[in-house]
């Protein structure tokens, strides 16, 4: 019997486990293979929706479901202490869970995600609201309800972070929301970013920065935040800038999961060294890495994980069966970019082709909302 263990049942782990189950249903039913998902939590949070919560576009209740309900019935699921992985040991093909049990595997898929390290920037946690954190997204909604004008600073503390386009989206949704409330004239919006411009890909940056200019959004970049003074509401940068604000919305520094560091299998920020084409962990051919967990210079996004899941599911299934073609990942990413609270554009690209966003429209906004809605019934279940 071949055992596939998936560590982490977030977007990436869930989609890949379901896709494997749909690819080798007979082997699973006959007991020739087994897919096990391990997660410390039995709840699944759809993080992309968190970005829409502060702007009253998304009901937060809809963002959390039971992981068991999303997983294919042929996939085993362990959670709590039984699912919390404390050590990943690729040399011995085992993972250890918090209940002390050692699980051996034939194939391992690491999907432990990216996590916020607020404390890297002194004062950030106390002064900055972040849709990257579920609770903070709710608090930001309240703060925006009460906001009556002033300076709002949007900040990205460090690259990479999950959903690279989301800071631009937050800025443009804020601008639009304030216009609709009649508060835009009383507000200055300042966007601060660690490298020149507002986004890393030149073709996209050039289109998006024009929208920022048209909407009167001030850009300060490069801006690498060093500390935030919560009392005086001032954000300082390595470059020597000081920005005074009334409200700050930001992306805290990201790192890979703690278990990656504890197991000594990651780099200094706990990202797992991964081959950008095969998605195998470097030096361990029976270990795959998916989603935010990799160190591949590519978007940390749910759509990335979805594209990657086809390659991993195909290759794991074929190795179990001993047949078939090997697929490789071409760097595909697709991201909608909200340009207001009723308009959006998108980027679709891969390693070889840079993206140019089309003109913003209501159709793409509708697409973004539909994509979010269909997550539970289509994407997560690996139906397509």
């Amino acid at each position: 019997m071949k055992r596939v263990i998936v560590v982490g049942g977030g977007i990436a782990g869930t989609i890949v486990a379901n896709r494997i189950a749909r690819t080798i249903p007979e082997e699973l039913e006959k007991g020739e293979a087994e897919v096990v998902v391990l997660d410390k939590s039995d709840k699944h949070v759809y993080q992309p929706g968190q970005l829409l919560v502060p702007f009253n576009v998304q009901d937060p209740v809809e963002l959390v479901r039971n992981e068991r309900d999303i997983l294919d019935h042929r996939v085993r699921f362990l959670h709590g202490q039984k699912g919390e992985v404390t050590k990943i040991d690729p040399a011995n093909h085992t993972v250890v869970t918090a209940d002390g049990v050692s699980h051996t595997y034939d194939y391992l898929i690491i999907a432990t995600g990216s996590h916020l390290r607020w404390e890297e920037v002194p004062g950030y946690k106390d002064a900055v609201y972040s849709p990257w954190d579920f609770d903070s997204a709710l608090k930001l909604r309240e703060a925006l309800d009460q906001f009556s004008g002033g300076t709002v600073v949007i900040n990205v503390a460090k690259l990479p972070h999950k959903c690279p386009v989301a800071p631009m989206e937050a800025t443009l949704m804020l601008d639009d929301m304030l216009r609709k409330k009649g508060l835009r004239d009383k507000t200055e919006i300042v966007y601060t970013y660690p490298i020149n411009g507002i986004f890393g890909i030149k073709t996209t940056n050039d289109v998006m920065i024009k929208i920022f200019q048209e909407r009167g959004i001030k850009v300060i970049s490069p801006f690498n935040v060093t500390n935030v003074d919560p009392k005086n509401k001032v954000m300082e940068s390595q470059e020597g800038e000081k920005v005074k604000f009334d409200l700050a919305i930001g992306v805290p520094p990201h790192v890979g999961a703690k278990v990656i560091g504890d197991s000594g299998i990651g780099d200094k920020r706990n990202w797992v060294p991964t081959d950008k084409f095969t998605l195998r962990m470097k030096d361990h051919s029976n270990v795959f890495v998916i989603g935010d967990t990799t160190d591949i210079p590519i978007s940390k996004a749910g759509s990335t994980a979805d594209f990657e899941s086809y390659i991993i599911a195909n290759n794991v299934a074929n190795e179990i069966r001993g047949t078939g073609l090997k697929k490789t990942y071409d760097g595909s990413v697709f991201c909608y970019i909200a340009t207001g609270v009723d308009s959006a554009t998108y980027i679709r690209f891969n390693y070889a082709n840079p993206p140019v966003p089309p003109p913003p429209s209501y159709v793409h906004w509708w697409g973004k909302l539909m994509y979010n809605k269909l997550y539970w019934t289509v994407t997560a279940k690996a139906i397509v």
């Binding site: 690259l159 990479p160 690279p164 386009v165 020149n196 780099d267 200094k268 210079p297 390693y351 070889a352």
Partner: protein, 82 residues
Amino acid sequence: MFIMIKMSLKIYKKLDLTGQSCAGPLGELSGVLEEISPGEAVEAVLGDEATKKDVVAWATKKGYKIVQERRDGNNYVVVLTK
């Protein structure tokens, strides 16, 4: 001007930045270079000369040292340290 890579310099990470990535080559590099300790370097593989020039200009402005620049087929390799 090229400075010889000191034998003691350890490559902490090789970054293949030939493909498109959301943070862009500078964004990817800025995150990784902040992490390196003394005696470590980052090797960046870049797909075209314009990007290589951007990386060298950006790194020089940020105070990083370019310890090596070389061609590798169609790619450009730049080794950077603090």
